[in-house]
Amino acid sequence: MKLKAILSLSLVLCLSILLASCGDDSGETTATNKEAGDSEKKVLKVGSSGIYPPFISVDDKGVPQGYDVEVLELVTESLGYEIEWTFAEFSGIFGMLDAGNIDTVSNLIAATEERRAKYDFSSPYAYSGASLVVPKENTDINSIEDLKGKKVGVLLGNNLHQFLEKWNEENGNEIIITPYQDVSGTYNEVALGRLDAFIDVKITAASRIKDEGLPLKLYGEDYLIDFDYAFPFVRSEENKEFLADFSAEIEKLQENGTLKELSDKWSAIDVTIPHEK
């Protein structure tokens, strides 16, 4: 009898929790993942880590903001698309792209050779390159050669990681590369002296050093490596036509100076100057 009472009590309890949370859940997804939109418009599903300011971040209300966001909004608007955002850990983003959960990635994605081999990229909408974040008092790291024997942090799996690994392999494997799963604590690691340097995209590094107020600086003026940034799409016949239109829109924005305006609005450095080939 007692057991029956416990069982039925817990069953009722569980069911009510379930029902209650079901309701909450559906409310949640519509509020965060989907912008309320009319059903006539086509939807472009865009994935991002949401943690890459000033290119993409999320404001107080969960609304995406940044250079990437505004570029995408302009492009999709003229193509007649609505954006549906999905935020996820960066390590899961390309998996979601492959599996078709999202159509493209908005995370200042560098169009590297390795990625071009697998994905079709739009025309570039930003140009920058890699730099090194070092302690303010640093004097001995002035080139990539100086990293030999030093401990250098990278963001796991991003293009800078691959670049540094490759350089290291070709130059005697003397750099101690330490991958991190996300950027949360990495600049602190340098400030605390646990890392000698952290390799990051110059433009994000510059704004982060300023905003975080850490005793850090960038190692020099030039880029370790140049990158063009673009939106990746899964290679397929049906994407081809869309991608051509998509690229044409980006080029239009570049030519009429809109990209430059957006760059001035969001970033401390002009990101719209193409690299010399």
Partner: protein, 226 residues
Amino acid sequence: MKFDFEYMISLLPKIIEFLPIVLFIGTLSFLLAILFGLLFAVLTTNKIKILYPILKVIISYFRGVPTLIQIFILYFGAPQIFPSFSSMNAVTAVIIALSLRNAAYLSEVFRSAFLAVDKGQYEACLSVNMTKWQALRTIILPQMVRIAIPPSGNYYIMMIKDTSLAFTIGVIDMMARAKLEAAVTYKFLEAYLMVGLIYWMISIILSFLQSKLEYYVEKPYRKEEA
């Protein structure tokens, strides 16, 4: 770099907004884990032919492979073999992964609870003409429940915390929200500390509920006070 206490407090309402999704995933996974765990336990203790060795492998997989990898395999790997899986949404994938993984653990908990009840009791039941089902239901199960509650409660709390892995495949939960917030301000320590405190609070509340439940099932073991 100074610790910004006010900022940390200001995050509380923003992060706690995602408490329902955490409780939903954690609780539903836990209930399913109990269900599957019982099933696994029954099948493994009875050593049913063919099923038993298969189940052993399955349990070994779920116990042996890290949760994050299991979620990846299920969400990104499975659709490549079974295209119909690609319609599965991220929340479902996390719930399936968490519940099966913990079912494997819980089945061991239930098995040990079953073994802990002296075999002689079952035999005694049969000797007084009880049916097998009566013996299980009225004598063995109540004792099993009492033994299984403390370790099961542990797994529940663990599962609640494991839900933070869901952000890898795009489910925004408390941890994800904290990361997104801190990305703008770079105040990661403050944000993570806040999330940690919320999880801690949940675990304290759950532990309290667990002790209540334990008190209830202990009733037959207490000397009557009245």
